[in-house]
């Protein structure tokens, strides 16, 4: 990949001032997810948010970095652990919070909850809680682009657990066979619920196996947002250049339990502590501080701004109306039926 090629999105990283601003923007993007989810935990404990909720804390570098490689025209397909993907994509915190409160102003009008965030205006196609279930759908979005000659990438996030599903393998083969413009981002956080990678994959080098389908594939340090961004840009460029599906194994880790129901008995606390030393958010903040790009005042100002943003989101979600019961059956089928001739 040529280093001089102008990136299609994000802020150009050529000039030093711009580059620093870009790094700050990445920090902000990750920190928004972190603080948003910390608030979610409080709201969950207060029973304001219900249902299954899966936190992304620890994995923020993946969503923030990959998003830099995508344009507004591209599409994103995600999982149930998708607060970070949605926020990075630009889905407003308010719409996500309202969704988790079950409100009509939620990004899925209260029909989805935490696991099913959708925002078609941002080409954010959810929010799929069937492990592996989003992959075929992402292939279809990519196929449509191929068939209509549109220069777009569809990015699909999924976990290491999904790598064991038939839907992954079916889709990998089909997408490679048909050369689909698909960016496959496997978030390998070393666990599928309570089952460690080595206990659910015969060969744990996932990039190696993906390459077996004839795709370009490599593993990336998913705790380093700059490494993630660079890899995602290269992969997305490869896809845009007609190189077919590209696969990135993002080596990452979730700091919190699988879901709010999980008491996290299956892993060693020291393991968690070791990974926390590689915290993607604080890691970048430290680098910026050391480079003189982030002052203590600037950090405080950023924190205040995010806290205010999240406060506003919670307040708005709180005050938003609920969908009337009369609308229970809305959206089961489309309102205007064209079936009658």
């Amino acid at each position: 990949m040529s280093a001089t090629r102008t990136p299609r999105t994000g802020r150009p990283t050529s000039r030093p001032g711009r580059a620093a601003a870009h790094r700050l923007a990445l920090l902000e993007s990750m920190l928004r997810v972190r603080r948003f989810e910390e608030r979610c935990v409080e709201l969950y404990s207060a029973a304001r948010i219900r249902g299954f909720m899966h936190l992304y804390i620890g994995e923020e570098a993946v969503a923030a970095g990959v998003n830099e490689a995508l344009t507004d025209e591209d599409a994103v397909v995600s999982t149930y652990r998708e607060h970070g993907h949605a926020l990075a994509r630009g889905v407003p915190a308010e719409a996500i919070m309202a969704e988790m409160f079950g409100k009509v102003t939620g990004c899925s009008r209260g029909r989805g909850g935490s696991m099913h965030l959708f925002d078609v205006s941002r080409r954010f196609y959810g929010g799929n809680a069937i492990v592996g279930g989003g992959l075929p759908l992402a292939a279809g979005l990519a196929l449509a682009d191929r068939m209509t000659d549109r220069d777009r990438v569809t990015c699909c996030f999924f976990g290491d657990g999904a790598f064991a599903e038939g839907e992954f393998h079916e889709t990998a083969n089909l997408a490679a066979l048909w050369g689909l413009p698909l960016l496959l981002v496997c978030e390998n956080n070393l666990y599928a619920m309570g089952t460690a990678l080595a206990r659910h994959q015969a060969q744990t080098d996932l990039a190696l196996r993906a390459a077996g389908y004839g795709m370009v594939a490599w593993a990336v340090d998913g705790m380093d947002v700059l490494a993630v961004e660079e890899a995602a840009r290269r992969a997305a460029e490869g896809v845009r250049a007609g190189g077919g599906p590209h696969f990135l194994e993002m080596r990452t880790y979730r700091f919190r339990a699988h879901s709010m129901y999980d008491s996290d008995r299956y892993r060693d606390k020291t393991e968690i502590e070791q990974w926390k030393e590689r915290d993607p958010v604080e890691g970048l903040a430290r680098r910026l501080r050391e480079a003189g790009e982030l002052s203590d005042e600037a950090r405080t100002a950023l924190e205040d701004r995010l806290a205010a943003e999240i406060d506003a989101a919670v307040r708005a979600a709180d005050q938003a109306p609920e969908e009337p019961i009369e609308d229970l059956l809305k959206y089961v089928t489309s309102p205007v039926k064209a079936s009658r001739p």
Binding site: V120, G126, P136, L143, A144, T171, N173, K337, R340
Partner: protein, 355 residues
Amino acid sequence: MTTTHSRTAGPAGSSEPTAPAAPAARKTTYREAMREAMREAMRADERVFLMGEDVGRYGGCFGVSLGLLEEFGPERVRDAPLSESAFVGTGIGAALAGLRPIVEIMTVNFSLLALDQILNNAATLLHMSGGQLPVPLVIRMTTGAGRQLAAQHSHSLENWYAHIPGLRVLAPATLTDARCVLAPALADPDPVLIFEHGSLYNVSGDLPADPGPVDLDHAAVRRPGTDVSLITYGGSLPKALAAADDLAADGIGAEVVDLRTLRPLDDATVGGSVARTHRAVVVDEGWRTGSLAAEISARLTEQHFYDLDAPVERVCSAEVPMPYARRLEQAALPQADAITAAARRTLGEVGEEPG
């Protein structure tokens, strides 16, 4: 309805409305009618394409798409790998992105490998996204027994799909319906499943030159009658019509209702018929327990209890995986004589008890 039935004209061809003034009806088969519908749809709309296992070079496992690859090329007639979940899900994604895919699954049995995509995505995305994601997808598949294909290629599971809110489920049983349901199915903004009974593909008959639009919201009365309603769909329609012939020979007027759309059910047409005849026999190739016939029977007792002069009868498949041996297979399936006997029972005539 001007439908008439003459036994000599052949099982399904005979069930077509006869329009004496219609210009130049032509001979065709159910298979060709379905192919013609796809050809027309693909000529009319660039967004329409066909995808599935062996739909291209092989011509479709039942020959339905034969010749389409030659006309439309491999981009629009796509041979998919043996990955039911992936290519059905790919159809869903392509539909979301503005195309109008027709996905062919070889048989309903194999559709179970794509059940996740059909239920958890196609049927669900519109609602789960708060109205943002309609899925204008058509899935066609073969269903049913009668060809000695044994227990993994013969079952009638369309009722399972008819259980699912968000889907429209069609079972074209006549040449006209085979020719005419696809266009409105493609125009539907939501997912439509089309079940083609394997025994119908070779049925031949006259297709009116201009068969006209088919109304997917309504069942069709294929033969009028005043004494008993035979309510059925798909591959069982020819059997019900044959039973109606037998009954007519004894002076019993059986009205034959073809559901055509299995979801949503047309209660008004079914109920209207029963309100006239006061007796109902539901014929369904699915297993009796939890069948579509059970659903219709329940609706009739809910909505027409006081119209009924006799308990609703059901003629369904025996509760057994479909056996291979011809005698056994035929014994497991609804047959005209069982329908006739059930009809007679509703009229208080002596007959065999239901199995």
